[in-house]
């Protein structure tokens, strides 16, 4: 069959996927957890698994499973709240490596990207023959492993994005698969139709009724028949993909469409004042992310999930884009007030979120800023720290509306045993009621003790924090317990400007240890 115009003749599209990304970063930084089941996600009753390490997957734990079910299947795993700063940092290292290879790098999320090797300028790539790209991909995987301090990546190479992505999954984890040009259909035909992006449960069910289970079955369906089953646009796409025809280019730097933050809460929140406080805090985090990305936005949306699981969104579009937390917070609170008049928030709220969309690269300056230095100005904001204990993650959603990090979507939630108002320096004295929900010592969080050095929270509750003193560059370390208000114990934050952590892999085998989180 002659190749259609524009179709690539070499396996020049590379798809790289970091293996069990969040869990792997945790195992890297917590030597005592290496080789053990680790589950990152919400650690309390309503939490959802974001990532499970391969050791945990053996027990049937999967992403997006409820933490409750995960605990039933794998009670001895370490259950950790996410450390998104650490994940972003590791992701940044990998994306930089890829960009050194080719200017055409299309990140899909924190742990996944396409690279167009046809645009690469690397002495190791004199041509794009199958064996050349295979050898190059192996070098790239080694570079990732070294630069990230031990993370592994699975890589797929093919003539299209679709097949490259399918290929990277074939030998996961730590795998490499090149699909030689011309063999794509051979590879796809026996696979279930759900391997095709866009074939979700609904489409799969419709196709099943038409007798289609595999890609080969789908290939046997004419375009007309396919269109009558799933609609015109979708049908045309499936018709092409079933024949491994995918000429979509690798597009560098996908445009960010919105920036948002949300948190779910262990206890339903009934106090509208507290909801407003939480939204304001999220707004601060969102605005900080906007500013660090050089973005502003005009539409502000709040998301509220009621106790009965109904989710309500309310949004307002401003006359001009903004990037300051005070304005985002003010609009979010006004939307909440408005919502409170029509929806029954008194029954409790389990999730709150703030998002900014309608992104732009400018802000409307304020006439009054010329009159006097404005104490409410964005620069004078109190640092909008989103305490990890509030169970909020700030995520950037991209172009196609998918979260930049899909696994980050089920956000961590607050702890089952909220510590009484923390007195540590990180607590916000202005926000007393928030403290009840703000577990200052979430499981897995990085801490530093004046005497014992750096470590991570192994478990907390009833006014006691247990810390394991170890880092990526130490052998497994000892466990010690402190009072939650021990003045020598501080949350440890990586400074945003900090260079990647020491990349040397920690020495020594993982020492046996109890299950963190103590449940």
């Amino acid at each position: 069959m002659p190749l259609p115009l524009g179709r690539r003749t070499h396996a020049s599209v590379l798809h790289l996927d970091l293996d069990a990304f969040f869990a792997s970063v945790e195992q890297r930084d917590k030597p005592s957890l290496r080789g053990k089941p680790v589950i990152v996600g919400g650690t309390a009753g309503r939490g959802v698994v974001a990532t499970a390490s391969y050791e945990a997957r053996v027990y049937g734990v999967r992403s997006a499973m409820s933490t409750r079910e995960a605990r039933a299947r794998c009670p001895h795993a370490a259950y950790l709240r996410g450390r998104f700063d650490a994940y972003r940092e590791a992701s940044g290292i990998v994306m930089r490596l890829l960009r050194e290879v080719s200017p055409l790098v299309e990140p899909l999320s924190l742990d996944e990207a396409f690279v167009d090797l046809a645009a690469a300028d690397d002495p190791l790539l004199p041509d794009l023959e199958t064996e050349t790209v295979r050898a190059f991909a192996q070098v790239l995987r080694d570079r990732v492993h070294e630069a990230t301090g031990g993370l592994t990546a699975s890589v797929g190479l093919a003539t299209s994005k679709f097949v490259a992505k399918v290929a990277s999954d074939l030998d996961k984890p730590d795998g490499l698969r090149v699909v030689p040009p011309g063999t794509e259909q051979e590879l796809l035909r026996p696979m279930a139709v759900t391997v095709i992006p866009g074939v979700g449960p609904a489409t799969a069910e419709r196709l099943r009724r038409a007798g289609v289970r595999t890609v080969a079955d789908l290939e046997g369906l004419g375009l007309d028949e396919l269109v009558s089953q799933v609609g015109k646009a979708h049908g045309a796409v499936l018709h092409s993909l079933a024949r491994a025809r995918d000429e979509r280019p690798v597009v560098a730097e996908r445009e960010t469409k919105s920036v948002s933050a949300e948190g779910t809460y262990e206890t339903d929140i009934v106090d509208v004042g507290l909801m407003a406080g939480l939204l304001a805090r999220q707004a601060g985090g969102v605005a900080e992310r906007l500013r660090s990305a050089g973005l502003s936005g005009r539409t502000i949306t709040i998301k509220v999930r009621l106790a009965d699981f109904t989710t309500v969104n309310r949004s307002a579009t401003l006359p001009a884009p903004v990037d300051d937390g005070a304005t985002v917070a003010r609009v979010a609170k006004a939307l909440l007030t408005e919502l409170a008049t029509t929806a029954d928030l008194g029954g409790g709220v389990r999730l709150l979120g703030v998002g900014v969309s309608g992104l732009a690269d400018w802000v409307q300056e304020d006439l009054f800023s010329m009159l006097e230095p404005d104490p409410q100005g964005p620069d004078a904001q109190p640092a909008p720290v989103v305490p990890a204990g509030l169970g909020e993650t700030v995520e950037v959603t991209t172009d196609d509306g998918h979260p930049a990090d899909p696994t980050a979507d089920p956000t961590a939630d607050s702890t089952a045993d909220p510590v009484t108002a923390p007195t540590g320096s990180e607590a916000d004295p202005l926000d007393e009621p928030l403290a009840r929900f703000a577990d200052q010592w979430p499981a897995g969080a990085d801490v530093e003790h004046d005497e014992h050095g750096r470590g991570w929270v192994w478990g907390s509750g009833r006014g006691v924090v247990t810390v394991r003193f170890e880092t990526a560059s130490t052998p497994p370390g000892p466990v010690r317990s402190f009072k939650a208000d021990d003045p020598a114990l501080h949350p440890w934050r990586r400074s945003p400007a900090a260079e990647p952590p020491a990349a040397e892999p920690a020495a020594g085998p993982a020492a046996p240890g109890g299950s963190p989180d103590g449940r």
């Binding site: 730097e253 445009e255 500013r291 050089g294 973005l295 502003s296 005009r298 006359p319 001009a320 884009p321 990037d323 003010r330 006004a334 309608g358 992104l359 732009a360 690269d361 400018w362 802000v363 409307q364 300056e365 304020d366 006439l367 009054f368 010329m370 009159l371």
Partner: protein, 379 residues
């Protein structure tokens, strides 16, 4: 209560008074429209504790009396009546309304629960109704709509003898207009902050007669209300509204003292051009203005987004300058200017532009100025 009235006169007065009905009345009687029938004809009133409306109209009153009926319903009914005399009669707790062969029965609301309307302060002076409406319409262009910043949802009027200045700002742009009027006391000096929306609606609705009377109590008197009265079809219209509290910012000092670049441009061409280039990027884009060599180049959109560019002729005096604005704010200002040629006066790219009309030789400068803060590019 029993009266007979011309359909058009009644419909006009009811529609006017019903404008002030609260959308979500805090107490049910506020949804009512009060009808008082007496020797002078009819008085129709609405009130929401902030704004009151009072219309008088001529009618043949057979029996005096006062009733309170649903204002919204009465407005809907009178608007759709045939053009025949209307007769309204109180029958027990109901009001019957008969017009030709159409017949309605309305429930009444308890008159005794209805609040007393505020007194109109003593008249301060009069202005030509069309000039007043025009000056108000120009001023409200820049008024804020954000209820969280209540002071900026008002128009500040400053009365200094025979001149009224009107100022409004939403922090991003500022309008300043002037209006000549006839004060009752020649050296009158007063200032007030009036809710912009009420002021705009009121001024627009009082243009049937030639003049409008403005009644503003001196500071500290009259419970902080302002009244407006004008003539209308078959009677008078009177509105009072509560003034806004709070101090309006000292905005006059925001106007720059000097201008380094002054550009004169044909207004219609500029409006068309701004509208065209700002079509790109889902209306989130700013429009960049570059003035150089007798040409104004407009650009919008950036990077991977759609982009647009257009050049128009400009009479430029001073150095080249490149700046940018929220296109809607720019269009609002251009739309508020009467003259066919506009002048944009700049100091620096990061400082506000002063927009005004170029007044033909020999004409008086109406004095309208629109000050607009530019955009700041991020990163």
């Amino acid at each position: 209560m029993k009266f007979r009235v011309e359909r058009d006169v009644l419909a006009d007065a009811v529609a006017w008074a019903a404008r002030s009905l609260p959308v979500r009345p805090s107490v049910p009687v506020l949804a009512g429209l009060l009808i008082q029938a007496g020797d002078e004809g009819l008085v129709l009133s609405t009130f929401d504790y902030e704004t009151s409306a009072r219309a008088t109209l001529a009618a043949e009153v057979t029996d005096d009396g006062t009733v309170l009926v649903s204002g919204r319903l009465l407005a809907d009914i009178t608007r759709s009546l045939p053009n025949k005399p209307v007769e309204m009669t109180l029958e027990g707790s109901r009001v019957s309304l008969v017009c030709g062969s159409a017949r309605f029965t309305l429930q009444t609301l308890p008159v005794e629960d209805y609040p007393t309307l505020p007194q109109m302060p003593t008249a301060t002076g009069t202005a030509r109704s069309d000039a007043f409406a025009h000056a108000v319409a120009q001023a409200v262009t820049a008024a804020g709509r954000d209820d969280m910043l209540p002071v900026l949802t008002g128009v500040r009027i400053e009365i200094d003898g025979s001149t009224i200045s009107l100022l409004a700002t939403d922090r991003f742009r500022l309008s300043q207009g002037e209006l000549e009027w006839s004060p009752n006391t020649p050296d009158e000096s007063l200032a007030a902050l009036i809710p912009a929306k009420v002021l705009a609606d009121t001024a627009k609705s009082l243009t049937a007669g030639s003049d409008v009377t403005i009644a503003l109590a001196a500071s500290g008197q009259g419970d902080g209300i302002i009244g407006f009265e004008g003539a209308a079809n078959g009677g008078t219209r009177r509105t009072t509204t509560r003034l806004l509290d709070g101090e309006f910012p000292k905005v006059r000092s925001l106007f720059p003292n000097e201008h380094l670049t002054i550009a004169k441009i044909e207004k219609a061409a500029l409006i068309e051009s701004v509208k065209r280039v700002s079509l790109v990027a889902e209306r989130n884009t700013a429009v960049q203005l570059a003035f150089s060599d007798g040409v104004l180049t407009l650009d919008a959109g950036s990077g991977d987004e759609a982009q647009a560019s257009e050049s128009i002729e400009a009479d430029i005096d001073g150095g080249d300058i490149v700046t940018g604005f929220n296109p809607q704010f720019l269009l609002d200002g251009l739309g508020a200017i009467d003259q066919s040629t506009v002048q944009l006066a700049f100091t620096q790219a990061s400082k506000p532009v002063v927009m005004s009309g170029v007044v033909p030789e020999g004409d008086d400068d109406p004095g309208f100025r629109y000050l607009l803060m530019p955009r700041r590019l991020l990163s």
